[in-house]
């Protein structure tokens, strides 16, 4: 918690912000994570690295890149950090298998040199490094090759010509490996495609105005930055990121330990579409919760939630074979609408309904509740009704009761 004094939260917005701070990755750990993947990057690029000729680049993807990381339920300092490791080679240089092994060898030697207790784990697509000190990171490293050409072609062939010509997005596309595929061990052009940086560019575009405003504010208060462009994205938080963090925590506590919970990329995509430059977490949550469902294509039948930077990819493709995934998403959305509405609409800022405490988790709330201003001199609530009536009349919206 960065709140220094107790008893200072005196609005719904301030309480939501304090909850987000409690579930967010602390600034110090965020920096450690960045230092750690930079350190892996230097190792991969060292003089006697087996992949140095391919100019390895390591960068974050997923929630760490989007700024929507949250603590697991229980609030331990455990964070999943998803990374991409791109080698500047081609599919003639590597099979999926040889790319995976080449990157894997270096990650294994990194783990050995740095005294990791666990060997890096060889997953379906990633290598996983487990840090077991006080900053408990699980770093998933995804070996990849640049894949801009094929990505452009694929989009053109499927009729998404505008997206195909958007160089800023298409040049970020990558080809990734998958152990379960038949062509894993042979030279092939047919690799799975992904574009995490492209997705982040899209996500940023959903909130460009507010992001710039926040950067402007930081710049004015921090002499380190001479211009808005110098402020890195991760140095500021936006209401869209904060609202998504709250929604993810709500999901995590609702489906704690259960399977088929709504996946983060679906929540993030629908949230990005629903966001309309609201400047508070409260307004953003309302906007997301009211509009998210409307961005599911064909909600009654075979539903589609296209990847905004690769519309052929359906984020909801698993809903067909596992209908529980779809039902769970709809159940979650309805519960989130009610739980957040109960607090933000029905209650005053001091009285957090049990439903919301449960869905944020009692543990987290026990850190936030003591900070809430216990009672202020409450104005005569009765007058609020009359004030509201006056507003309605001034807007010409009055209607009169009558009896037949």
């Amino acid at each position: 918690m960065t709140q220094k004094n107790s008893n200072q939260l005196n609005s719904h917005e301030a309480v939501l912000k304090a909850i987000v701070e409690a579930i967010d990755i602390p600034k110090s750990l965020d920096q450690i994570a960045r230092d750690r993947y930079a350190s892996i990057g230097r190792w991969l690029d060292r003089d006697n690295s087996g992949i140095r000729q391919f100019d390895p680049e390591i960068y974050p993807q997923g929630s760490f890149l989007l700024g929507t990381v949250i603590r697991p339920v229980g609030d331990a300092d455990e964070f999943d950090i998803d990374l991409v490791c791109t080698l500047k080679g081609t599919k003639n240089d590597f099979t999926m298998s040889s790319l995976k092994v080449s990157v894997g060898e270096e990650i294994k030697s990194y783990a050995k040199k740095n005294g990791f207790i666990k060997e890096p784990e060889d997953g379906r697509r990633c290598w996983t490094l487990e840090y077991s000190d006080k900053a408990n990171f699980h770093m998933d490293i995804l070996p990849a090759l640049p894949n801009a050409e094929q990505y452009r072609l694929m989009l053109e062939e499927s009729g998404h010509t505008i997206l195909a010509t958007d160089e800023k997005i298409s040049e970020k596309a990558i080809a990734i490996t998958d152990k379960t595929l038949d062509n894993f061990d042979i030279y092939s052009d047919d690799w799975p495609v992904s574009n995490p940086k492209g997705f982040a560019i899209w996500f940023k575009s959903c909130q460009a105005n507010v992001l710039n405003e926040r950067k402007q504010l930081l710049m004015e208060s921090d002499v380190m930055y001479a211009s808005v462009d110098q402020v890195p994205d991760h140095k500021v938080k936006t209401p869209l990121q904060q609202a998504i963090q709250l929604l993810k925590r709500h999901r995590d506590s609702m489906f704690d330990g259960k399977e088929n919970k709504p996946i983060s990329v679906i929540i993030t995509t629908l949230a990005g579409h629903s966001y309309n430059n609201e400047t508070t977490i409260t307004e953003t949550l309302r906007s997301l919760l009211k509009n998210m469902g409307g961005f599911i294509i064909n909600p009654e039948g075979e539903s589609w939630i296209p990847n905004p930077v690769n519309p052929i990819e359906n984020f909801a493709d698993k809903w067909k074979e596992t209908p529980e995934k779809k039902q769970n998403f709809l159940k979650w959305l309805e519960k989130a609408q009610r739980d957040f509405g109960l607090y933000l609409v029905s209650n005053n800022y001091r009285d957090i309904p049990e439903e919301l405490k449960e869905s944020i988790t009692q543990e987290t709330m026990s850190n936030v509740l003591p900070l809430i201003v216990a009672s202020v001199s409450t104005p005569a609530i009765i007058s609020f009704g009359e004030a509201e009536a006056a507003t309605i009349i001034s807007k010409g919206g009055a209607t009169k009761p009558w009896r037949k």
Partner: protein
């Protein structure tokens, strides 16, 4: 036909659900007996941000019954919490059904008759009125007299004319026709024909009160004389919905 109605109902349900999502967290909506039924606690929320942090202005337990023909049919609203005395003076019938508004007036004087507009307008206004009446004894938006007189007041307001039953009925008769009859006598009693007098005003009025609506309004006003028991055709519809 049944399929069409089923689709209409599903559409209405999803509209109602999207209206109450987040903003009315204590209400829920289901389809029952070919109607969309909304039940629970209706929250009256301030539009003023600094008031919002103190929670709702008031809450009332309600049951709202939407016909698939909304907005042609007025929703039936019941006050189920017995927080307000069910009396004529409170504009609530003994069975709890609420006299929210003169429906035809709201339909014709508002361009937006969506479910959202209904929740933000007449429904909120009615219960906010009740809340203020209870504490101050005054109806903040006023009230219409009971029965025919109130109806005449409301229609007079819609038609922007003087309060005179014969005149209102004549105006409604003109508007009921599928097209304006220019050779009829002008309702302003100038003695001239419509074509040579208030044609422009009537053309404008027709966009506000289409012929079908004029017929409904005319029937409703006349029903008070036709049936001594004061049961209008509208009452019969709502009586049928009594099964909920």
């Amino acid at each position: 036909m049944a399929q069409v109605r089923e689709k209409q109902l599903q559409q209405l349900l999803s509209t109602v659900k999207s209206v109450i999502a987040f903003d009315q967290p204590k209400l829920s909506a289901v389809i029952k007996n070919n109607h969309v039924i909304v039940e629970g606690c209706f929250s009256i929320v301030s539009t003023n941000d600094s008031h919002k942090k103190h929670g709702v202005i008031a809450e009332f337990l309600v049951k709202i019954i939407f016909s698939p023909l909304y907005p042609t049919d007025e929703p039936r609203v019941l006050e189920t919490g017995n927080c307000i005395k069910h009396t004529l003076d409170n504009h609530i019938n003994t069975d709890g059904s609420c006299c929210i508004v003169v429906w035809e007036e709201w339909i014709t004087t508002n361009s937006d008759n969506s479910v959202q507009a209904y929740f933000d307008g007449p429904l909120k206004n009615f219960f906010l009125s009740q809340h203020i009446k209870k504490t101050t004894g005054e109806w903040p938006f006023g009230e219409y007299p009971h029965g025919k007189e109130g109806l005449l007041d409301a229609f007079t307001n819609v038609l922007e004319c003087s309060k005179n039953e014969t005149k209102v009925l004549y105006l409604l008769r003109i508007l009921s026709k599928d097209r304006l009859r220019g050779h009829w006598n002008c309702p302003c009693k100038s003695g001239k024909t419509i074509r040579k007098c208030c044609l422009d005003d009537l053309v404008r009025l027709r966009t506000k009160v289409p012929s079908k609506m004029a017929q409904i309004m005319s029937n409703r006003l006349q029903s008070y004389d036709r049936k001594k028991g004061n049961i209008s055709s509208h009452d019969k519809i709502t009586a049928k919905q009594g099964q909920f």
